[in-house]
Subunit: 315 residues, 2 copies
């Protein structure tokens, strides 16, 4: 297992700076009153390509040597990672192929193609995806960039919390949503080095609580086809992310679908920002666990803003 | 007619600074590509109480002497001005009464009450509104703060474009939506003094194009019950705002309902911000009049973010 180091975050930050936004940190008086905490929202919904995954993808793409880069990159992802890898590849001027189930939303395919990436469709099964993906790599020689179980990706995501502690002093905790655990792992790696007194929390939908159950059990448990409005959080932990989650996370908290939707609507209404259901899970758990966060200064990662405006979850 | 001066804007800015946000200016690579112009969005959707009207309301409220202030303020408005006047009054700790038709949306009444303002309902007719409002003023002695035909309000709104030219150098034009004309008048007053080379444009819904027709005719024309998704822009010009619009505006451009909705959705999708239909009218007219703005650096006032999330216009 190739575990990234804190130095990898520093290298990543220098490498990707020209390709990412240093996203703003927003606050809301009303949401502070409702939560009893002082919340600092790190707005990766304003990130390039609309999600924090532009960080990890850019780190992987711009870290490759020219020979490998010329063959391009490839991944399987029907979410933000595919879009963001396509974004980063376009910035470097190299090919990008994303394998997606043919049943994935048209908007997701369009997003990849919008940056010039190629979408190859597979059947909506793991076996088909793996077979089609192997074929793509065999044909192109493209470098596989996993959505989260990749040290380059984790180091890239870690730049987000590095910025956060540069932007906000005296944080007591940072909370991020957890799916595969790439953002949470990067956060653990950054904070355990930069500010080990800051506790790291992860937030997860009750209906996709595999990380929560893994954390309590002490080993990885994968869900079988979880279903949640927080569609970015359905994937399971892998070895690399489990390493960080099991070692550095203080607790994993969960929220119901309705609590997630309510928190999402609250942020839209009060902060006037467009963000994804996945990004609302941390606030949902904060409002549910006031005792844990009351009086504390807490960083909250708003992970992305790519939401289908024609199909909002409260409608 | 008591016409505000540029000095009134400077006084207003000093007066209201503790009570308003210096809102950010955002840009979008994709929207620049679509428009062929370089657009700088001044985001008053992030303003206190969710709209630029917090500026004018705060200037009126904090400009009153203590004797008058103790009697409170009053207005009639079923839109952002009522909410923002209530916000400003709460900051000063004085009473605020807003007369609204009983048919106004519950959310608008709740917004006024949320800041501690009192809502008095009238029948949805001009005669009832005037009668009820006269009664309120007679009873309380409250100071009437008109939503736009008031020099204090216009001077307050002018602080927005003053900030904009401090934030962005070399603008060729600034465009704002026009309803009663308070924001456009403040913009004219600020820019004709600070940077007279910057052209001021106003943007209006085709279905509420009274300012456009007034501008072309050379005298105020008021619409009879206009209907548009841009609900903040239904009111007519008055003497004070006509003074500025007729003297300083370069042109008034209009857009259809569908063009407004498309522009609104484009901003939500690409810029990840929540803003009102009224705020989308400028971009709608820019996309429709590429020849006017191509290659130009243009400030675009996003006037507010108070939208009913349960009733979005594209659904």
């Amino acid at each position: 297992m190739n575990i990234p180091s804190f130095a990898d975050i520093l290298t990543a930050h220098d490498r990707i700076k020209p390709h990412i936004h240093r996203t703003p940190v927003l606050t809301s008086r009303i949401i502070n009153e409702l939560s009893g905490a002082e919340l600092f929202f790190k707005c990766e919904n304003f990130q390039k390509a609309g999600a924090f995954k532009a960080r990890g993808a850019s780190n992987a793409v711009f870290g490759m040597n020219d020979v490998q880069a010329a063959k391009g990159v490839a991944t399987h992802s029907s979410g933000n990672h595919g879009t963001c890898l396509s974004y980063a590849a376009a910035r470097r001027g190299i090919p990008c192929t994303v394998v997606m189930p043919r049943t994935a939303p048209q908007a997701k395919k369009d997003a990849v193609r919008g940056f010039g990436g190629k979408v190859i469709e597979c059947e909506p099964s793991t076996s088909s995806r793996e077979a089609v993906f192997a074929e793509v790599v065999a044909e192109t020689g493209a470098e596989f960039v996993h959505p989260y179980n990749d040290p380059r990706v984790i180091a890239g995501q870690g730049t987000c919390s590095k910025e956060l502690v540069e932007q906000v002093a005296g944080l007591d905790g940072v909370i991020a949503p957890i799916g595969g655990g790439g953002m949470v792992s990067g956060t653990c790696l950054a904070l355990s080095n930069l500010a080990p007194q800051i506790k790291v929390y992860a937030a997860e939908p009750e209906q996709a609580d595999d990380a929560y159950r893994s954390f309590k059990a002490g080993h990885i448990i994968a869900d079988d086809a979880p279903n949640t409005v927080a569609d970015g959080l359905k994937v399971p932990l892998k070895e690399l992310t489990w390493h960080f989650v099991s070692k550095h996370v203080t607790d994993i908290l969960t929220a119901s679908e309705q609590e997630i939707i309510d928190a999402m609507k609250l942020i839209w209404k009060r902060m006037k920002i467009v963000m994804e259901p996945s990004s609302a899970v941390p606030l949902a758990t904060i409002l549910k666990n006031r005792g844990v966060f009351a009086g504390k200064r807490v960083g909250v990662i708003i992970t992305g803003g790519n939401v289908d405006l024609d199909k909002l979850p409260w409608q």
